[in-house]
Symmetry: C2
Subunit: 315 residues, 2 copies
């Protein structure tokens, strides 16, 4: 029996899905501009649980996952299409209104215009398909394939918070009934932020040779980037910027979080050793691109290990 | 309790979904070209049943519904994104392969390039979201809003076959076990054809003042067109080109079929009284645009009646 992860990876590879190797597909628009496009499917009880979140937060997250893909290209989000399938039990509630309210609030922040979509009923569960189009100066989209041996590897912000939030939710903790630090972790899972401005800034300044957003998990997404670039990577474990609240769930599950996804931070490479700017979020150098094609090596003190190609598994 | 139709219509209207009033959204691309985009969600047991069709035919239909939207703008399909959610019971079958096989065969016929998409698992049912982008010369997209009083109303091909095919399937008939005429009706339901060339031709020659594809049903879609154009319509019942095989399901259900959808023929208006061309499918004049805003009147011999705003209801 194939695992879910294998099944999905096989289909994506076989049919060049998930944007033919990048976070967005890139199309020529006009003489100065390229168009980027991304699609993300969210299915109830696979990608979210209605008992854990609110309709508004779900609207926010549906747009965020797509904003993050556009951010990873260094592009500016512009137009969205939003498809939603809703089961009968939600027709007479304010679910759809609240969902759009959340979506619209975030869309306004990013000047994203809703240009269409579709709506349907479903037998049991909510399904959402989020489609986002963006623009980037011609030839300037930051791809996964541009990393060179010797480049430094950077991440924005901090990692592991979204996975820790998921672990808390799965363990029965709820936002309204936990302390501030656990609230912060659950917020990273239910109300993530896309690094749109950081992505644009890195593109404009030509700082990133390659980029991807961390949706599957640090090591899984780093593998994607290395594969696309035909390179390898060496990561210094102690430099990974874990979420400051992670120990609020106990130190024993850090290994689970190391490969946890949905942080929606940016992972990118640059010839520079240091990158900082008042316009950027905290950026941490976590390692270096190597010639060891397809291999991700993690240095942990005196020990070194190659990381398996696993990543985020949805609950 | 709201009906499904009301629920969906309310959401579409409230949030300007379903392409903000046209079959596709229109975006500026470059100085010579506009971009059109469309999204269609297909949910198992709402929009299709796996027991009635094959994975290949489902792939064909997923693309066809979007091709039809692009055709209704007079545009040329170019790029597609395809999202599919698949339940575990289908992982180890050839379902996904056959689905893409069907999709790809039709995509090649129309020079449509798959540029991305997403894949996910689902708890129970297959969901498909079909996204299609196309191009049309700047300002030339044929909208729903251009019909003028006095224009003739035309349809391509024939109507009712897809609805009749659905009735046969719902009644337990299966393609492999019926005669040629019933096979033809089931084919119209399971393997519809989009009028892409006809749409392009009408756009190029400037023949259509407004256009929509018949996906909800003749009268429902005609209401949409009239609403967008701020006009009314008078239809001569005897001129409606019903599918030649319709009587294979018995004459008593013709009333159900009159409002049946999914024929994916084009409904358009033109100042001309007659349109025919070797490059076009059969085109029939079925009535005339009136000043009777929002009203669709049907003349049936000596009788005349206004048609209620109902349309295709999914099973």
């Amino acid at each position: 029996m194939r695992s879910e992860f294998d099944f999905i990876r096989n289909i994506k590879e076989k049919y060049d899905l998930r944007h033919v190797g990048d976070d967005c597909a890139v199309l020529p628009k006009d003489s100065k501009t390229d168009l980027v496009t991304t699609v993300d499917l969210l299915v109830e009880d696979i990608d979210f649980r209605l008992a854990w979140t609110t309709a508004e937060l779900l609207g926010v997250k549906a747009l965020t996952v797509s904003l993050s893909d556009v951010a990873a290209m260094g592009a500016s989000p512009k137009w969205a299409m939003l498809t939603i399938g809703v089961p009968k039990r939600l027709w007479n509630t304010n679910f759809v209104d609240k969902f759009y309210e959340g979506w619209t609030t975030l869309a306004k922040d990013h000047n994203v215009e809703l240009i269409g979509g579709d709506v349907s009923r479903t037998p049991d569960r909510v399904v959402i398909d989020s489609i986002l189009l963006g623009e980037v100066p011609k030839g300037k989209a930051v791809l996964r394939s541009g990393a060179n041996p010797g480049d430094s590897i950077f991440v924005t912000g901090s990692l592991g918070g979204a996975a820790a939030g998921l672990i808390l939710l799965e363990s029965g903790f709820r936002y309204s009934k936990v302390g501030q630090r656990r609230k912060a972790l659950i917020t990273r899972q239910l109300r993530p932020t896309a690094r749109v401005d950081a992505g644009k800034h890195l593109m404009k300044r030509g700082l990133a040779t390659s980029m991807i957003d961390i949706s599957d998990g640090l090591f899984s997404d780093l593998h994607h980037l290395c594969d696309a670039s035909g390179v390898g990577a060496r990561i210094e474990s102690e430099n990974i910027p874990y979420d400051e609240n992670l120990d609020a769930i106990g130190p024993d599950i850090l290994h689970a979080i190391r490969s946890g996804g949905e942080d929606f931070e940016l992972l990118f490479t640059s010839p520079r050793k240091k990158i900082s700017n008042a316009k950027l979020p905290p950026i941490t150098r976590i390692g270096e691109i190597t010639t060891n094609v397809g291999q991700v090596e993690v240095i942990d003190g005196a020990r070194s290990a190659y990381v398996a190609r696993t990543g985020y598994r949805h609950f």
